[in-house]
Amino acid sequence: MFARFERLLIALIFALLAAGGTLMVANAQDGTPPVSGAQGSDQPCAVCHTEYQTTWQAGLHGQAGNDPAFVKSWEEQGKPGACLVCHVTGYDPATATWTADGVTCESCHTTPDEHPKEPATVDRSPDLCGRCHSDTRFGWQDWQGSTHYQRGMDCAVCHDPHSASLKQIPVAAGTPEMKDASQLCINCHKEVSMEFPYSQHHEKGVSCVQCHVEHLEDQAREPHSMPDHSFQASLKTCNTCHADQMHGATGEASVPAAEGTTPAEGTETAPVEEAAESSPVTTEPSPVSPIGYAGLAGLVGLAAGMVLAPWLERFYHRVSKHQHEEEHHE
């Protein structure tokens, strides 16, 4: 009886050992990427920089390698290595291996051997971001043409690279507040932010980004596509609401905006000057409203009247004189 129990115990111990061993071997062969670590030190970055770890992991850079939508699409396409150049870190096309899933610290930071005594360096140039974010769909050319780029601003002025989202500006009491990313625009473009709240566009709920970045006509975006980073308002965007006020019935201009389909719902006469002023990209002439035409016609009439007035007066005099003479004869 006791011997049987002992045998059972030994068997149990062996079973546990075997299971443990198998698990260890399995884990070793799992191919899970090593935890992204500082190059110089043995510790992973997140041991000390916990504050960045959370936001990074939840953000698009942290998710780039294991986002279900990406994984599904990647597998459907036959797992092409080209995708991994940007979706993982340290991809080596020769061996088809990589160091970590997602866009990790090492993608932008270099950790010296003496870290933390020596600070980790970071490449902030838009060109580094552009290595991945420069596909034609990302509008890299538009961004390079923008005043922001030309005046030396980098991506991190508006974007937080760790959370891979837009920066959050704390709004002080008594300052104008915008409901969306436009808060970032008015933070620097303060003069515009003082005038904009009095415009009809603002009353109708249109914000900076709806015309300058995320154009009203292309709200639903394809994967990999990005809002327009030239920051120029497009005439097409104006037409989304002001189509019925436009002359020259081209394809998209002749389609009147249906009430309620656009976030702006602005079908009545809103001033178009503001949008036209800030859209030097348009190749078409700026539209003239019917009131403008009426005004022009009025001016022409006024000038004609002034020129013709003496003639008319003389003619009237002659006629009246003639009549008078005729009456006199009778």
Binding site: H49, E51, Y52, T55, E118, P119, T121, T147, Q150, R151, G152, M153, V157, D160, H162, S163, K167, Q168, I169, P170, N187, C188, H189, K190, E191
Partner: protein, 261 residues
Amino acid sequence: MSDVQFSRRNFLKLTAFGAAAVAGTRLVKEAQASSSSPTGEHRWAMVVDQSKCTGCNYCTLACKAHNDVAPENNWNVVTQTGEVGGHQVFIARPCMQCEHAPCVEVCMVGASYYRDDGIVMMDYDKCIGCRYCEAACPYQARVFNWEKFEGKNPTVPEWGSPEVERRPRGVPEKCSFCYHRIDRGLALGLTPGVDRDATPACVNACPTKARLFGDLNDEESEISKLLANHVSYRLRDDLATGPRVYYLPADPKEMNVEEES
């Protein structure tokens, strides 16, 4: 009896010597304190170009994150000062790191002192919290820690990560020109004002490069050249505090050019 008299005389002598010594050291100390900051190898200064400043407040946010400043306190303040040529003009105000700093002069315990490079420093262990320095500062650059700053800093990690210890409750604090960044940078052979890792956080954070930092002793530094070729002014120059923050006044021509480009 004579022994007693002898010792009394000795005692009086000793007392007189002691009093003289105390008074002497005190006088020397006071003379040192009221004199201007020592002139060391470097003389750090900041230049703020008002033509470029858009008042975005990134400098304040970066400062709060890097120096772990409590949400209710600000070491750097950006205010709108008026309009020039139809453009709004802003003024960013860090600590002026005065050459003759009133805050150092009034400090009775020596908690406020000058570094060799001119930075006005705070020794939080010596500080007794009398707030004389806060009252003496003509620029209102000092803020008082009424409460202990506990919990999360809302500007971290988006605007940077803390590089210095949080200050205790009951002491005034102020901008330090990010001395820790300067010192670390110099130790690594970097140039403050040129290399980001040796430059104050507010200067790094400025999206329009309206803030510049450098060494006034170095004639080849960007700020030395800039100050030599541009009109500049300092806040409350009439008080003879000798501020080390220089402002390039807003030039409407320059501002219009920027708009056109």
